[in-house]
Amino acid sequence: MSEPVTPGSDQRQLIERDIDDYLARHADKEILRVLTCGSVDDGKSTLIGRLLHDSQLIHEDQLAAVERESRTGGSRAGELDLALVVDGLQAEREQGITIDVAYRYFSAARRKFIIADTPGHEQYTRNMATGASNCDAAIILIDATNGVLTQTRRHTFIARLLGIRHLIVAVNKMDLVEYDEATFAAIRGDYETFASRLRVEDLNFIPMSALHGDNVVERSTNMPWYRGASLMHLLENMHIAPGGGIDNFRMPVQRVSRPDASFRGYSGSVASGAVRPGDSVVVLPSGLATEVTRIVTMDGDLEEASAPMAVTLTLADQVDVGRGDILASPVNQPRVSDTIDATLVWMGEEPMAPGRQYIVKQGAKQVFGRVETLRDRVDVNTLEPLPASTLALNEIGRVRLVLAEPVPYDAYEDSRATGSFIVIDRLSNITVGAGMIQAPGGQATHSHWDETPHGALTATGSAVTAEEKSQRLGQTPVTVLFTGLSKSGKTVIAQAVERKLFDEGRLATVIDGQNFRLGLSRDLGFSAEDRSENVRRAAESARQINDAGLICLTAFVVPLDSVRERARAVVGRERFLEVFLTAPIEELKRRDESGLFEAAERGEIPSFPGVSSEFEEPASPDLVLDTVSLGVEDCALRVMELLRQGGFIH
């Protein structure tokens, strides 16, 4: 390992010799945003003070002020207290602790650093999360005399949650343990055990004394056993992998720019990917498609704009685009839904109230929303989910949020900019929560279908064979899916068939979508994902019912063909029949006494199949019944006929 450079002196020579060259290099530096965190008094602020001091970046008048204050206050009883360089609030200097995030700036030969110094005190955990939200790397301090503490774990967890992929664990105050290698190794071992569950891609350990400067800028001569780089050297040289998220274009529209009748542009910051004139884009949530014509900036039109540039786009068509909409590439579009599954860090003094209306700001949009379900709370010590009825200050939980209108979004791990949101209290206007949207399938969503059961599980068969049951009941079990829009007659026809089967001495049962939602699927909403999950549960239940030897009649809307197909696969293709009930929409409205269709048309029910969300007609149903020309009795008879033809009843 080569000797680390001292950026201060090195840079200084270049500045003296050739300022133009220095400026040219400086202009090309990249920004690295770093956070210091860890438990109270682990030495975070001291470390930053030391980093600035040893890099010769503290001006003489500032140092004089800190020296003066160290004599009267500070935590070192007269000695120079470098924490005072960053602890800028009066209350912080008086109490010798950090209360709020401080941002410090300095640059070295390759990089420009923005360092967020965050408080270690548990009471101020939300300020730590605030600091972490924009960082690429985190320095986690551990006091060598204390080892890994709860707060160390909590901060590591939050850093990971907020998407920080590079961690530097600084085992500090090595001077107090006689620079002992074994102490360092033990703490490192403890930390590794804990962190192994957090999938940290880049984990580094440095033994350090922030107070005396060991391994801060220069390698320490007190710890010859340590062969790694100094902190400064690591910060300058560590490889920062690019984003890791999606590279499809997205731009939330901040403002419509209409200076005069001849110009109409959409201003915003590119959140991910890139865009060029001529590219097709869709406007979300409306889904309208158009094309980008120009990328306008004061420095002239651009050939391409990429994240995080702030630009103004003009579009080929006069489509309706407003603040809060997202312009996105047609490939791999953001999801659009009024239901969001997310991890929520609660920051309000008052506990989170499930069901209460909050303001949710996501992208350039503010909408009302409420927490429909609090699934669990994370125990930061064990990382295990715990049951919870609320989230108190600084607690973290997994929630399902229901918004007043559908919004376009991505998963946080795919895109920080379109996958994050804040929660604002309606009365006090305070920011009370920060959320990271989970990838669909993270919870009860569409891809529960795809989840692999735990490897240790095996299926057991029944003690009674299918033939025995079939003989006893005189039927071959089958599942009939009655699919169609609301009011198409699914439930009544299924019930009529049940009656007929029973009267013939057979045994059948009806599973009805609404009944299901009153019980087993009580936790689900009406978004596309939730509808899909509801069908998955119904399909699993139908399979059980069929395995018991019974005929299962299911009455569910199932708006998507892909979902019907998956249900068929779960139940078994040889014992699944699809019956599609049709009627013109006017007829359905006429049957609708509760006014659901009208409410949906007024935009009050966001995902109502056939009106405000899609209904795909089945591609290959086993039977189509026109419920206008056929009465319930006729329909039931035709289904009986279908069952007979299929050999399910004789």
Partner: protein
């Protein structure tokens, strides 16, 4: 993207967000280099449109003459909506840097004047050019700094500010000070001025100027209102200013830097920080925090 481009994009994002979410924003224009950069970024944010908000200059009547000339010319050339506000009561009461100590003078002619102007026009958001690297308590302030009905800052109850999701929801009477340059450092500002070829007040560059020495600081004799001690004669010296404000309170530094790169070079090699030339900041360790609590920018 270089770091300057990233900073530029971040600032434009903030400026647009404010224009979209607030009813009546204003840009506080102090004529200094930071406000000049802020104004330039605002032009970029709304191009090809015009600025959707006015500029406000709080004029103490003691600014350098060159500053006022520069301000009026820039406003004319860009067709800006410029509001100039002066505490006329203070002027009538003869509140000057020579009749009151800097603390009291600043409070009456700057802070109180600013608050009166904000109230008069009912601004709900005010952009300022402050940077976090300027001073320790600034380093703690959010990009959106919420002020209560009395324009006070409460450092203990700042809202968490995550990602680029700014929370500008306020109740009637409250206001937000917005700092789009929060993450810029002094050298970033200079480098940007150089790269974008932005015009600045010439006082930032070294020239022969008439100065007198007062309490260890070099004060430029900008007009004949400056009372001279018996026998005191202004001297022509090569000087420039790192920050600009009221001329009797702005300390000049001796310098030969006549070009921007030379200024940057001197700045980088300097052993004293930028605010040192500003006489008003020395009163007490936490004077800036205190002033901000009282409504100062």
């Amino acid at each position: 993207m270089t770091h300057i481009e990233q900073l530029e994009a971040e600032s434009i994002h903030i400026i647009r967000e404010v224009a979209a979410e607030f009813e009546n924003p204003v840009l506080l224009y102090s004529i200094g280099k930071d406000s000049t950069v802020l104004l330039h970024l605002a032009h970029k944010a709304f191009f090809p449109g015009r600025l959707p908000f006015p500029l406000l200059h709080v004029d103490t009547t003691w600014k350098f003459r060159e500053m006022i000339a520069f301000r009026d010319r820039i406003a004319r050339e860009h067709g800006l909506d410029l509001i100039v506000h002066t505490n006329t009561r203070g002027v009538a009461d003869n509140v000057t840097p020579f009749t009151y100590d800097s603390r009291k003078y600043t409070d009456i002619m700057k802070t109180q004047a600013l608050l009166a102007a904000l109230d008069k026009h009912g601004f709900d958001a005010a952009f300022g050019g402050a940077r976090r690297d300027e001073e320790r308590s600034r380093a703690k302030e959010r990009v959106y700094s919420i002020r209560d009905r009395n324009h006070r800052w409460d450092p203990r109850s700042q809202r968490p500010e995550l990602w680029n999701l700014y929370n500008g929801n306020i109740n009637r009477g409250e206001e937000v000070r917005v700092f789009p340059l929060s993450n810029w450092t002094e050298i970033d500002v200079w480098q940007y001025i150089l790269a974008e070829n932005i015009e600045i007040v010439p006082l930032y560059l070294a020239a022969e100027r008439p100065v007198v020495e007062r309490e260890g600081a070099l004060i430029m004799v900008d007009d004949d209102r400056m009372p001279l001690d018996p026998g005191e004669v202004p001297e022509q010296r090569m000087v420039r200013f790192r920050t600009l404000g009221c001329y009797p309170l702005s300390g000049a530094i001796e310098s030969t830097a006549r070009t921007l790169p030379e200024v940057i070079q001197e700045m980088l090699l300097a052993r004293y920080s930028e605010r040192q030339g500003r006489l008003i900041d020395h009163d007490a360790a936490s004077s800036m925090e205190q002033k901000k609590r009282e409504g100062y920018f």
